[in-house]
């Protein structure tokens, strides 16, 4: 099963690059000119995201470097332990929507410390795999088209992330048992 999916992933882009221009040609599209026409907007689209990304990444960077995370963890771990969520994964849960790299660093640290086949190791692996860098995606996608008011998408994204956390704890406990 994994082999099939992995193979599919490897072939997907080469196939798109083969099929799209061929079909376009067969349907009478001037392939080279059309490609250039479309690609023209690339530079502007990428550069337009700069102010948005700068704003968001500066805030995230200050938050990360200041040690605010440790304060948050110290404040919230008693509450988390009380409701049955292991506090060790809290830094990961907080960082995951903000910074993909930082979250991955925390995840590998937990895996290294507790072992990849421990409960915490499996839990943090599941959390890393099932979540996305919500704030980065929102900033980048909205920034590229000049959207400044995000309306309910921040609450929506964070709700989804929180539900992933709860689901991960539950599923990993049920499948692997919380002992190991």
């Amino acid at each position: 099963m994994f082999e099939i999916i992995a193979e599919l992933s490897r072939w997907a882009i080469p196939m798109i690059l083969l099929v799209v221009p061929l079909v376009a040609m067969l349907r009478g599209v001037k392939v080279y000119e059309t490609f250039v026409d479309g690609a023209e907007a690339g530079f502007a689209t990428a550069v337009q995201t700069i102010p948005y990304l700068v704003a968001m990444l500066v805030a995230i960077s200050i938050f990360r470097a200041s040690g605010a995370m440790e304060v948050l963890v110290a404040t919230f771990s008693p509450i988390l332990n009380f409701v049955g969520l292991p506090a060790e994964v809290l830094p990961h849960a907080v960082m995951r929507p903000l910074s993909g790299g930082a979250a991955l660093g925390i995840a590998s640290d937990i895996i290294k410390t507790y072992g990849p086949d421990s409960f915490l190791g499996r839990l943090v692996s599941t959390m890393q795999g099932s979540c996305d860098t919500t704030f980065y995606v929102l900033t980048l996608y909205f920034g590229s088209v000049g959207i400044k008011k995000y309306r309910y998408s921040v609450i929506l994204g964070l709700t989804a992330d929180l539900s992933t956390l709860v689901a991960s704890v539950f599923i990993v406990s049920v499948i692997f048992g919380s002992g190991g």
Partner: protein, 196 residues
């Protein structure tokens, strides 16, 4: 909400840094963050330009429309405000498929193309449309069939079965996707007509 989160991270960060006696890190962190942001944007120029070209070809060849037509029932349900067979539908499907296959390099440009199409329907407003909120919720809670990076790390630290978290990952992310779709519907109703 985004204003609050943004301000909160900066204010809380500076207060903590000050209280811990390492206020110096703030200035450096701010510049590092800005630097990193510009680097990311510049690294996007290449892949966005490339995929915009390919997508224009796919559009002219009628392939985007065909793709949108194929998955019409699902997309009509998720995005009632987007006209059927609109190029935005095709681009969103491409983005979500690339995400599922774990093709990060292709997923981002296709997502940005989808946003461009959605922004045309949004008549250039600076406020997010319903369809954009739904699309981003799906995008960030979307399933990745093989989380390659974390499997690599598990392998590195001697896991006896590095891929045994794939099943749980797919279950967790499917659950959060359902939650995202349901909460999106509720919030859409609550926010309808507000703040546009």
């Amino acid at each position: 909400m985004v204003n609050l989160v943004w301000l909160g991270m900066i204010v809380f960060g500076i207060i903590v840094a000050g209280a811990k006696g390492n206020i110096d890190v703030v200035t450096k962190a701010a510049l590092d963050g800005a630097n990193n942001a510009v680097k990311i944007s510049f690294s996007l120029i290449a892949i966005i330009t490339f995929w915009l070209g390919i997508m224009k070809l796919a559009e002219e060849a009628g392939l985007v429309r065909a793709l949108a037509w194929l998955v019409r029932p699902v997309m009509r349900f998720l995005f009632p405000s987007v006209p059927k067979d609109h190029p935005a539908m095709g681009a969103m499907v491409m983005n979500l498929s690339a995400n599922i296959l774990g093709l990060g390099n292709a997923a981002t440009p296709m997502g940005l193309i989808a946003m461009r199409e959605l922004q045309k329907l949004n008549q250039g407003r600076v406020s997010a449309s319903d369809a954009m909120c739904t699309f981003l919720a799906l995008n960030t809670s979307c399933v990745t069939l093989i989380p390659t990076t974390i499997i690599g790390i598990r392998l590195l630290y001697g896991s006896s079965d590095p891929t045994d978290i794939v099943g749980p990952t797919i279950m967790a992310t499917s659950f959060s996707m359902v939650v995202a779709i349901v909460v999106d519907r509720i919030l859409r109703l609550l926010y309808s007509g507000k703040g546009r």
